[in-house]
């Protein structure tokens, strides 16, 4: 029996490849996820073994790790410093071989030859001081020499390449301490990680202190231990001499910290990929089920013959399952190979996005291969189980009959289950919408509702298919070809339903994402419109803070009715980190609309206002003092009012005077410009542009470009999701190709008859194509309805998260339908061609 199974596999190679593609894709994403994760773990070892200080002392500012390549944010990377004298104290600790002060900060923008900062907006532009010790420095000089003195800089190789400078050239760097034009004396690489997409400029310590920190002091101290002294012991001894509030970390702890951060950062990728693998495998189940059902139907005679000569039902069933298992195995092996490509591609992709991934070879563990193979085989065998049972039910007498049709089973049970699930789904959605205050519960209920609605729609799809295909086909009813195509689409509701469902799943997800994406953008636009009263906004080219000269340059712009700046520092209240924005109390309300809910926005010294959400979360009340941790220690502030938070406008606001009184650096995060009523915005823009020309570290934005910029980051994420889902849709279309090809084979006598009574080849082709298009539109309609409904529900759930506007992207959904039509057309090409080329005589010859 097994040999028979293998032989039948070989006969339908191409078609089976099409069927299995879904399994291959699913397994590839499972394997890819494993390989990616394992490789990441492996690269952590590299992290631990790389050169690094044995002990690092930094300021414990209460804002998590201040060292390393964390993300810079508009919250402002306020360098928190240790006095230089601490370096001396640490150097004096017994067991310390050497101690070096390090001054590092974001916001060292290397200016390219076009006068603009190099690199993309996302990754940080860091500056640091050189550690003149090859044992503990993570930087290596690859050409030239380390920088010495204010006139010298060393650049990361990639940075120098991007800026198109080499050793000996001078380069312009915008720093928090002003613009400098040092000579490039050396190129460096990072020891542990290949590239994080960011730029790096390396100075000697005094230069770094002056320009990066703007004040004397160091951001951390790198310590090398004497041989034989353990990191832990040394750390304990150092802890005794450093000022309170300092953090002392061993090299091992630091590595573990970085590894932790990376794992958290990449955890979502795992979830995401596994979700996608699940979708692909789910789609695969439909396609495999369809293919095997049809293969069994085609082979009815052959099976009956085997039964007639004595094969038992069990043997028939097992032979079909064996066929499925072999197929699953082939698909899984291809899937593992695909997984290697997936993880490799993922790594490249992350690199492109500037993710800091330590370089390491791909790790393929035996576990990865075993799990992938098991999943591939299991999914295929499970999908083929029902068809195998049908095969086992073929009576031996079927071998003798001319026309064998397995009795069509009743759809009633299936329909009842579908209706019950639909009711359940509606109930869950109703409950979900009425427990919106409880976010977790609501999203669980809506998720459950979505899942049961999906299964309900799949259960109901045969009944729906008969109806919908009939309605969709109505305009084509006039022609004989149209009638034939419509009836072909309706004759086997289960098959049509399974084919359409595969497409529906992919399009449902795409539509839901489409609704969420559109709603997110609409919400962003609404927030910008509502809150930002300014017409123009000046921000750092890399979201980095910039010097007050910028504000001074634009504050008297003719035609501007109000020009205000914002200065931001991190703040921590009750262990919750947020942003404290210092504003000019008289000017700020003119450029940003804060809706006060309680108290007043008239900010005095030591007073703050806070957004409603934070106030609720932390139990803050108007008039009550709060204990806040700021860059330079703890301060008591008084809550003066509570405003309604909206989009990016959240956190604490205070007056500039308060901010200065706690020792915040004089660096601005943004400058808002409002155009006077009787002035021309274009004229103001022109003045601003010329005034800002000497400051390449900042960019001028209007409301539209601000929206665009926020949207662009969403577009990247949504684009990635679309790309993955598109893969599921393509697999579904391959399923249509497969189903049609098998249908044509099954109906070859009918096609032969049609040809004999005068149907032309092109009419046969049109018939097959129309059937395919009807099926795919049906799938698209199912998927889009489901997707839009749940996208809208999801928007309701996400409303507290700031997605306040519901937007349905009708244009995009229109494109989905077009895509379905074109996809159906393309999917039908090959089956239609095969059908039109059928040999009439062979088709009608009675066997």
């Amino acid at each position: 029996m097994f040999r028979a199974a293998l032989r039948s596999l070989r006969q339908h190679k191409l078609r089976l490849v099409l069927t299995l593609l879904a399994v291959v894709v699913g397994v590839a994403f499972v394997a890819g996820t494993y390989i990616f994760t394992d490789s990441l773990k492996q690269s952590f070892d590299a992290l631990f073994n790389a050169p690094q200080p044995d002990v690092t002392v930094s300021v414990d500012s209460g804002f998590g790790s201040s060292a390393g390549g964390g993300n810079s944010s508009s919250g402002g990377d306020q360098a928190t410093t240790l006095p230089a004298s601490t370096v001396q104290s640490v150097a004096g600790v017994p067991g310390v071989a050497a101690a070096f002060g390090v001054a590092a900060a974001d916001g060292a923008l290397v200016i390219g030859q076009d006068g603009k900062p190099i690199g993309r907006t996302g990754p940080p532009s860091r500056g640091t001081s050189w550690i003149p010790d090859q044992v503990i420095s993570s930087l290596r000089v690859t050409s030239g020499a380390p920088p010495v003195g204010p006139g010298q800089v060393a650049l990361l190789e990639a940075t120098a390449r991007a800026a198109n400078v080499s050793v000996g050239d001078t380069v312009t760097i915008e720093t928090p301490g002003g613009r400098i034009t040092p000579e490039v004396v050396g190129l460096v690489t990072r020891g542990i990680s290949g590239s994080d997409g960011g730029t790096l400029a390396v100075f000697d310590l005094p230069t770094a202190e002056k320009y990066l920190l703007g004040k004397p002091g160091v951001t951390s101290i790198a310590v090398r231990a004497q041989p034989g002294v353990s990191q832990q012991d040394l750390a304990k001894r150092i802890e005794k001499v450093v000022p309170p509030g300092s953090r002392v970390q061993t090299g091992a702890q630091r590595s573990a910290d970085i590894a932790d951060r990376l794992q958290t950062a990449f955890g979502f990728i795992n979830t995401f990929l596994l979700t996608f693998a699940f979708i692909a495998l789910f789609v695969a189940i439909f396609l495999i089920f369809n293919t095997f059902s049809m293969l069994v139907a085609q082979r009815t005679r052959e099976i009956a013959l085997l039964r007639a000569v004595g094969a038992s039902r069990g043997q028939i069933r097992r032979s079909v399952l064996a066929e499925a298992a072999v197929l699953g195995l082939i698909a899984a092996v291809l899937g593992v190979l695909g997984g290697i490509m997936v993880s490799f591609g993922l790594r490249q992709l992350l690199k492109m996005f500037g993710a800091d991934l330590p370089a390491a070879p791909l790790v393929i563990q035996p576990r990865t291969i075993v799990v992938s193979l098991v999943i591939g085989v299991l999914v295929t065998v499970i999908s083929a189980y029902l068809p195998s049972r049908r095969a086992a039910r073929v009576p031996p007498v079927a071998a003798m009959r001319d026309e064998v049709g397995l009795p069509a089973r009743d759809l009633r049970v299936r329909t009842l289950i579908g209706i019950a699930l639909l009711a359940l789904s509606a109930l869950a959605a109703y409950l979900g919408l009425h427990t919106l205050d409880n976010g977790t519960n609501a999203s669980r209920l809506i998720g459950f509702s979505a899942l049961s609605a999906l299964i309900a729609v799949i259960a109901l799809s045969p009944i729906l298919g008969k109806f919908v295909v009939g309605v969709l086909g109505f305009p084509f009813r006039r022609t004989a070809v149209g009638r034939l195509a419509i009836e072909n689409g309706r004759r086997n509701p289960r098959r049509t339903a399974a084919t359409a469902s595969a497409l529906a799943i992919g399009l449902a997800l795409m539509s839901a994402i489409g609704v969420i994406a559109a709603s997110t953008k609409a919400s962003v636009a609404a927030v910008v419109d509502d809150t930002i009263g300014a017409d123009y906004l000046v921000i750092g080219a890399k979201f980095q803070p910039f010097r007050p000269e910028v504000y001074n340059a634009v504050k008297d712009t003719p035609g501007a009715s109000a020009v205000a700046y914002v200065r931001q520092v991190p703040i921590s209240v009750k262990d919750k980190t947020s942003v404290l924005s210092g504003v000019q109390p008289d000017l700020f309300p003119l450029v940003v609309n804060l809706q006060m809910q309680e108290g007043s926005a008239a900010l005095g010294l030591g007073e703050v206002i806070v957004d409603d959400r934070t106030a609720t979360d932390l139990g803050l009340r108007v008039g009550k003092p709060i204990q806040a941790t700021l860059v330079n220690g703890s301060t008591t502030l008084v809550v003066r009012g509570i405003y309604k938070g909206a989009g990016p406008t959240i956190g604490y606001f205070t007056s500039i005077d308060t901010l200065s009184s706690v020792g915040a650096r004089e660096l601005d995060s943004a400058v808002y410009v409002r155009v006077a009523k009787d002035s021309s915005p274009d004229a103001v823009k022109a003045s601003l542009t010329s005034e800002l020309a000497p400051y390449p570290a900042v960019v001028l934005q209007d409301q539209a470009s601000l929206k665009d910029q926020i949207n662009a980051s969403f577009d990247q994420v949504f684009g990635f999701i679309y790309a993955l889902l598109a893969l599921a849709v393509i697999v579904a279309f391959l399923g249509i190709v497969n189903t049609l090809a098998l249908s044509v084979f099954e109906r070859r006598r009918e096609v032969g008859l049609l040809r004999a009574v005068g149907t032309s080849r092109s009419q046969i082709r049109r018939m097959v194509v129309l059937e395919a298009v009807l099926i795919s539109i049906f799938g698209a309609v199912l998927g889009i309805c489901l997707g839009v409904a749940y996208g809208a529900l999801l928007q309701k759930v996400l409303e507290p998260q700031g997605i306040t506007q519901l937007a349905i992207p009708f244009g995009q959904i229109g494109w989905f339908v077009v895509l379905a039509v074109v996809g159906g057309l393309v999917a039908a090409l090959w089956p239609a061609f095969t059908a039109s080329r059928l040999d009439v005589l062979k088709a009608i010859a009675s066997e």
Binding site: A480, R483, L484, E487, R491, V757, S760, S846
Partner: protein, 244 residues
């Protein structure tokens, strides 16, 4: 008398070399218009091949075939399809109907495919003649074998073809249904002047024809006018014994 179809030196060879089989060996045949012609012969005599070649379903190795005034061997697939649609009617042994269409839709299928309006009076006449008036909305699966074959006959006649080819039309039917179908074919010749060519190996079926052409080993070996079942059976037996 004029011909509805005729063939000159019609040969059909399958395969080559050792597997070469001559199905038809330089056959000359004329099908007279308005007559019911039966082609008879034992299995493998080439009778089905002859019908397929005459009907434009199969290509010729050599020779020429005409339907009416049209010579078939030079026609493209498109032209042949059009010819089959407009000038030829078919009744096959099995699988004669499209399962997704109703009886009426099956009957008017060739006309619908051509995108023409059926001649309603004629279609009604045909339907009444085959006695299917009350079954028109039924799907083939809801009809008996005899009813299905009568639908097939009605379809073959509905477009008023030059010639109708019937390939063992009673092969799958019980004798009563078979007699009904043959009776209908006979009436369509007598009452409508239809030309019919029927391939059969049943002497009883052949007795409904005006003329029987006997085929053996790819050649026409005899013919008989006004046949009776007994005479046809006798003639067949004679061939069988001659072949040894």
């Amino acid at each position: 008398m004029n011909n509805a179809a005729h063939a000159i030196a019609l040969s059909k060879v399958y395969g080559s070399g050792d597997t070469r089989v001559t199905a038809l060996d330089s056959v000359d045949v004329e099908i007279e218009a308005g007559q019911f012609t039966a082609i008879m012969g034992p299995s493998g005599s080439g009778k089905s091949t002859l019908m397929h070649c005459l009907a434009g379903l199969d290509s010729l190795t050599s020779g020429q075939v005409w339907i009416g005034d049209t010579e078939l061997s030079q026609l493209t697939d498109k032209a042949l399809t059009k010819l089959r649609r407009d000038s030829v009617g078919f009744v096959f042994q099995a699988f004669n109907l499209v399962p997704t269409l109703s009886a009426l839709e099956n009957i008017t299928l060739p006309i619908d495919i051509a995108g023409r309006k059926p001649d309603q009076q004629w279609v009604d006449l045909v339907i009444d003649t085959v006695g299917l008036r009350d079954r028109l909305t039924h799907r083939p699966s809801e009809l008996s074998g005899g009813q299905q074959q009568r639908v097939a006959c009605a379809r073959a006649l509905a477009s008023r073809p030059t010639i109708v080819f019937a390939d063992e039309p009673t092969g799958n039917l019980d004798s009563r249904s078979g007699a009904e179908v043959l009776g209908f074919l006979r009436r369509s010749v007598d009452e409508f002047g239809q030309t019919i060519v029927m391939v059969t190996h049943d002497p009883n079926a052949a007795s409904y024809a005006d003329r029987v052409v006997f085929l053996a080993d790819g050649r026409i070996v005899d013919e008989m006018h006004k046949p009776t079942a007994a005479a046809v059976l006798e003639r067949m037996k004679a061939f069988e014994s001659a072949r040894g």
